[in-house]
Amino acid sequence: MTTSFLQTVLAIVHKDVRAELRSRELVGSMALFALLSILIFSFALELNRIAREEAVGGILWVTVAFASILGLNRSLAMERDQGNLDAMLLAPISRAAIFCGKLVGNLVFALVVGLLLLPLMTLLYNRPVLQPWLLAALLLGALGFSTVGTLLATMTVQTRARETLLPIVMLPVALPVLLSAVRLTTSVLAGGAQEDWLSWLQILAVVDVIYLVLCFVLFEHVIEE
């Protein structure tokens, strides 16, 4: 008897969310890191109001990127340290479903942190960060980071230097996501015409699709012995 793809994904997401609600280790550390980052950026750019307002997009995405890396490391370490990834691999379920389950869990945690950040940045940087198109950018950007990050964290978590290795490996690969998300956010905040930033939204969506397909295909090879 094999479990359907959707049932497997839901079971893994449900398990990850339940474990997180109980321990609050992952979102807690991600949120604290994100809060400290935007505060430090805010203080560092305090004297230059224009620079601060122009840098909002970059600050948002650098913070989301590093907070995501922190969360991804912990999320996959939870599976590796007790051998739980092996326990999942023993079950008659699709490897792609395991990847998708972990990806959705990581995406949920990244979005929670992102959604906490937006109102805080509105207050600290005096920019209307909380708006529908930026929520779409957050969703697509976090999806890109989580997709690449789930695959790469599955690889790096097996090494001793996983905390330092993941950002070194992930940031160059996730650069297209970071660049298009920053451009999109900056253009929307600058109040430009829709045609000015719509192309960045489309690029971000296309990059996400490419990464999703690649990572789904590669995951089985990454976890194989």
Binding site: Q7, A11, R22, Q82, A87, P92
Partner: protein, 249 residues
């Protein structure tokens, strides 16, 4: 217990010229092995002899470099999904989530094995009773002792009623009471018709629990004999003679 539907012989596990290499380093060399349905086999050998590698291959967690491997008539890795449904693995690591309760852990794994909700809940309750954890089922696994975690690991492994139980040094870190409890659980599983393959360093336990002992050395099968009429001392002497190493009795 129902038998695997794809079986054409009395052997549930068959390997032919099975080779596993990590890069240029061979971990298993042309292993030919046949294990009958319901048999309890103890796998002995020094560290690095290939015991864990063999168990990981049998569990479908690792792919052979060459040779064939069938479980229940299904070939690995081609028919891995069918094989996975009929095996359970107990490792020296508990393979459990510490931030979940015992019941939540079993529920999660039950969902992965597509057990219907009613059956799942019944088996969880029965499993927890079987391993003596019924009263602690709603406690977090991180509050469990090593022995309790290993008992829960057995309950997790038996949840989907696998035909083959693979055990990789399951007694590691257990005290005497926990070891005796685990002995009882394995004897019961064997009596119920499960095929058991257990990697261990303990000669006493191998002779007492198993029907047959295998000794691996440098990736090759160097001894294969029934335990009937054999005592731990005789087995230890054979082990030392073959491997050149003292055994843990």
């Amino acid at each position: 217990m129902p038998q695997p539907s794809n079986l054409t012989s009395s052997s549930i596990i068959e390997t032919r010229s099975l080779v596993k290499a990590f890069g240029l380093l061979p971990a298993l060399r042309k292993l030919d092995l046949s294990i009958a349905k319901g048999e309890f086999v103890a796998l002995l050998g020094p560290n690095g002899s290939g015991k864990s590698t063999l168990l990981r291959l049998l569990a479908g967690l690792s792919k052979p470099t060459s040779g064939t491997l069938t479980i229940g008539g299904w070939e690995l890795p081609r028919e891995a999904a069918a094989v996975r449904a009929q095996i359970g693995l107990v490792s020296h690591r508990p393979l459990l989530y510490e931030t979940l309760t015992a019941r939540e852990n079993l529920r999660f794994f039950g969902r992965l094995y597509a057990l219907p909700a009613n059956t799942r809940e019944t088996r969880i309750t029965e499993g927890l009773e079987r391993v003596g954890l019924a009263k602690r089922g709603d406690d977090l696994v991180r509050t469990y002792s090593r022995g309790m975690q290993q008992r829960l690991s057995i309950a997790r492994t038996l949840l989907h009623d696998p035909h083959v139980l693979l055990l990789d040094e399951p007694y590691t870190g257990l005290d005497q009471d926990a070891s005796l409890t685990l002995d009882g659980l394995l004897t019961e599983a064997h009596r119920d018709g499960h095929t058991v393959v257990m990697a261990t360093h303990e000669m006493d336990r191998a002779v007492r629990l198993a029907d047959r002992t295998l000794i691996l050395a440098r990736g090759s099968l160097v001894h294969d004999a029934p335990t009937a009429g054999m005592d731990a001392l005789a087995l230890a002497a054979i082990y030392t003679d073959i491997t050149g190493m003292a055994s843990a009795r």
